[in-house]
Assembly symmetry: C2
Homo-oligomer: 442 residues x 2
Amino acid sequence: MSRQLHFNLFLHDTGHHEASWRLPESDPYANLSLAAHQHLTRVAEEAKFDSVFLADSPVLWSDPGRRPSGKLEPTLLLASLAATTTRIGLIATASTSYNEPFNLARRFASLDHLSGGRAGWNIVTTAGEAAARNFGLDEQPQHRTRYERADEFLEVSTKLWDSWADDAILADKQAGVHAARDRVRSIDHHGTYFRVDGPLNVPRSPQGYPLLVQAGSSENGKEFAAKWAEAVFVAQPTLRESQDFYADLKRRAVAAGRDPDHVVILPGIVPVIGDTEAEARELDAELERLIAPEFAVATLATVLGVDADRLRLDEPLPADLPGEDEIEGHKSRRTLIVEWGRRENLTVRQLIGKLGGGRGHRTFTGTPVQIADTIQHYFENGAADGFNIMPAVLPSGIEAFAAKVVPILQERGLFRTEYTGRTLREHYGLPRPANRLELISR
Amino acid sequence: MSRQLHFNLFLHDTGHHEASWRLPESDPYANLSLAAHQHLTRVAEEAKFDSVFLADSPVLWSDPGRRPSGKLEPTLLLASLAATTTRIGLIATASTSYNEPFNLARRFASLDHLSGGRAGWNIVTTAGEAAARNFGLDEQPQHRTRYERADEFLEVSTKLWDSWADDAILADKQAGVHAARDRVRSIDHHGTYFRVDGPLNVPRSPQGYPLLVQAGSSENGKEFAAKWAEAVFVAQPTLRESQDFYADLKRRAVAAGRDPDHVVILPGIVPVIGDTEAEARELDAELERLIAPEFAVATLATVLGVDADRLRLDEPLPADLPGEDEIEGHKSRRTLIVEWGRRENLTVRQLIGKLGGGRGHRTFTGTPVQIADTIQHYFENGAADGFNIMPAVLPSGIEAFAAKVVPILQERGLFRTEYTGRTLREHYGLPRPANRLELISR
Ligand SMILES: Cc1cc2nc3c(=O)[nH]c(=O)nc-3n(C[C@H](O)[C@H](O)[C@H](O)COP(=O)(O)O)c2cc1C
Ligand SMILES: Cc1cc2nc3c(=O)[nH]c(=O)nc-3n(C[C@H](O)[C@H](O)[C@H](O)COP(=O)(O)O)c2cc1C
C-alpha cells in the first residue's frame, strides 16, 4: 500500500476561529459540554481519523470576555471520551513545568489502559508569567530551564512506564502470586529536577508509552522534538516554510539516532470549505467581520512582547519589535507572525484577520477538490506526513471535511477507509517501545 | 418522609478481601479494566446508591506479589464512568500532600462538569515514606504539617471554585461578550504553603464544590473533618465505637459552627451474605483459608511500626508496641487494630483473618434479613447516617447486596426506590455552597 495520510482533529469547542462562538449555529457552552465533545469525536472516528487532540494550559488562557475561555482538564475529558469511542486516538496536552512526573506519568498510563492503547501526550513547557503565578512562582522559569526540566521529566516518565515488565503479572491463583516481584522495579531516579523512587503504581500499558507528541518550534523545542517526539504539530503559513521545517526536523531526528519515519509531522490547517469557491470565501469574510479588533490587538501585543498602544490597526508592524531572544514566551510563534507580517507587508488589521482564523496556521479556503488537491500536494512534496485539522467553525467544519474532503482522499488511495490497527501507535505506523528496564537488567 | 439511609459502594476490583482475586469467579485483571468498573457502577446505580468511591495513594500501595496492586488514577477512571452513568455520584480520592491546588481543584471542577454535578473528593493527606520518595522528599512531612497543608489546600481550592461567579457567563453573541469580566476574579492567595493567583480556568461547576469527603480518624483528622467534610468514611469494629465516633464528630461540627446534618457519617461494613447463616459463614471461612499469612504479617507490622519478626502467628500482639504518638503513618488505624486485638485477646493469626476481610471495618455475616436488621439498628441508634459498603468479593458481593438487602430496606421505607435528585449533593441531602467571592465583593 502506498504511503498514507494521517489526520488529527484539533478539538476546540465552537471552532478555531476566535469569533466562531458568535455564529447563530454555535453552542456558546460547548467548551464545557461532554456531549459536544462526544459528537465531534464521533464524526472524526467515523471518518477514520487517527486521533483527536486537546490543547491546554494551567491558567485562564484568554480574556473570558472575548470568547469561551474555560477548559475542562484534557486527561479527564479524554478519559470520558474513551468510554464512548473504540478506535480513535486521544491526545491530551499537559505541562512538564507545572506537574510532577509521578502523577502525570500515572495519568497517561491510566488513560492508555482505559482506552485500550489510544493515549497520546502533547508535551508542552507552558509559556507565560500568569501560569507560573498559579504554582508558587513570581516569574516563569527561563525557556532553556523549562526545556531542561522537560527532558528530565521524560526520562523519569519513561522509566516509570518501564518499571513493570510487560510480563510482570502472573495472576497465579493457585500459588497465590499475582505479580512476579522481581519484574516490578524501583527506578531510583535522583536527578537535577526530580527525585523519584518508583515503581509506578500502574502496570505497563497497552502501548508501553503513550504516543509522544510535541509542538515547540524554537531551537530548544526542535531539539526536544528530535529526541523525544513521535508526532509533531506545527504552524507554518506557506508550503515553503512547511518543507523547510519538515526537512530540518527529519534531519535532526536522524542526527539523534532515530528513524525519520518515526517522527510524523503534522502541520495545522484551517479548512474553510464551500461547494463553490465563492461560498468558501463568503464564510471566511463573515468570520473576519465578527472579530472585535481591540481584543485581537491585545493578544498580538502579548505575543510580540510590546505594549498594545504600539500597534496601530491600519499601519504595518513597528520596525523595532523585540527579537526572539528577548522574550521568554512563545518564541517561535512570535517569529512566525513577524516574518509573515513583514513579508506580505500586512497592516495590523490584516494580520489580525488572518491570525483570528488560524493563529499562524495555514487557512485552506476552497471547494472540497481544491482542498484535497492542496493536501495531496503538501503530502507528496516533502511538507507533511498528515495534517492537524483545525476547522474555523465546529461541528460544521469537521462534518463538511468528513463528508466532502475525506472521501476524495480515500478515492485517491491516500487515506484509510477502515482502521487496520487498534492502538494510536498503530494508526500512525509507530512501533511499541521496548521496555528499557528489561533490556538493561535481564 | 422519614430519615433516609445513604449507601456508597467502595469499588475495589475483585473485592475488599485481600484474597478475593484467587476465587475461581474472580477476574485478576479487574483492577485495570474499565468494563469491570462499569459493571460494578451500573449495579450500584440500578440499586439507587448515592455514590461509588475509589481509594488512592500515589505510590505502589501493596506488595504486587500478593494481590492486584496497580491502580488506575481515580479522577480519570471516574471521568470514564461518568460517560456511561447518569445519576450515581463519583467520589475520587486525591492527596493534598502530593498535588498542587490549581491542578487538583481544576480536575474536580472538570469532573463535576463532565458528570453533571456528580463529583466528590475524598481528601487524604497520604501516610508513608514511600509516597514521599516519589515526590522529591526523603521523609514524609509530619502528620501535623500534612494536615496544616491540607487545610490551606482546601482554602485555596474553595477560592478557586468560587473565582467564577455563578452568573459570570453571559454568552451574548450580539455584543460579542462571552463572560462578564468583573465576575471572573483572581484569588491572589499568598499563604504558608501556597501562592496561587487564579482565577481557575474552569467556570463554577454544577455543584459549586465537589462533595467534600474525608476519612482521617486521628485528632488532627477529626478536626479537619469537622471543619471541611460533608461526608465521612470511618472504620469502627463495634456498634459502641461507631456511636462514640458519631456523637464526637457531630459535636465537633457544631463547635465549628456547622449544621451537624451537613456531615454525613458513613461507617464501612463488609457484608457477607448467605441465603442461610451457615452459607454466609462458609464463604467467610473460604476466604480466610486463602490468605497467605506471611504477607499479612508484613503489612500488619508496617501499620504497627514494628519489625515483622516481632509478631508470632499464634501469640497475641506484643505488649510493648509503639504508641500512636510515635508513628507518623495511619495513626487511627494502628490504634484501632491494637485495641481490637487486646480487647478480644486475639492471636496475630486471628487478627489477620479478621483484618484480611475488612481491614478494621465491621464484617456483617448473615442472611439478607439479618444484615438489613443490623443496618437499621446502627442507623436508628446514633451510629450511622448510612454505610460505606465494602463487599469482600466483587462483583458478586454487590450483586447480592443489591438484589437481597436493598429491597428489604426499601420495603421498610428506609432507602429510596428512585433517585429524587440529580447531583451527588442532592442524593446526600447536602446544600450547594454559596459563592463566597460574591458574598464578599458584590
Ligand atoms: C498545533 C499546536 C498546538 C499547541 N498546543 C499547545 C498547548 O496546548 N499548550 C501550550 O502551552 N502550547 C501549545 N502550543 C505551543 C507549543 O507547544 C510551544 O509552547 C510554542 O510553540 C512555544 O514553544 P517554543 O518556544 O519551543 O516554540 C501548540 C503549538 C501548536 C503549533
Ligand atoms: C473507608 C476509608 C477509606 C480510606 N481511603 C484512603 C485512601 O484512599 N487513601 C489514603 O491515603 N487514606 C485512606 N484512608 C485513610 C484515611 O484517610 C487516613 O489517612 C487514615 O485514617 C490516617 O489518617 P489519620 O492519621 O488522620 O487517622 C481511608 C480510610 C477509611 C476509613
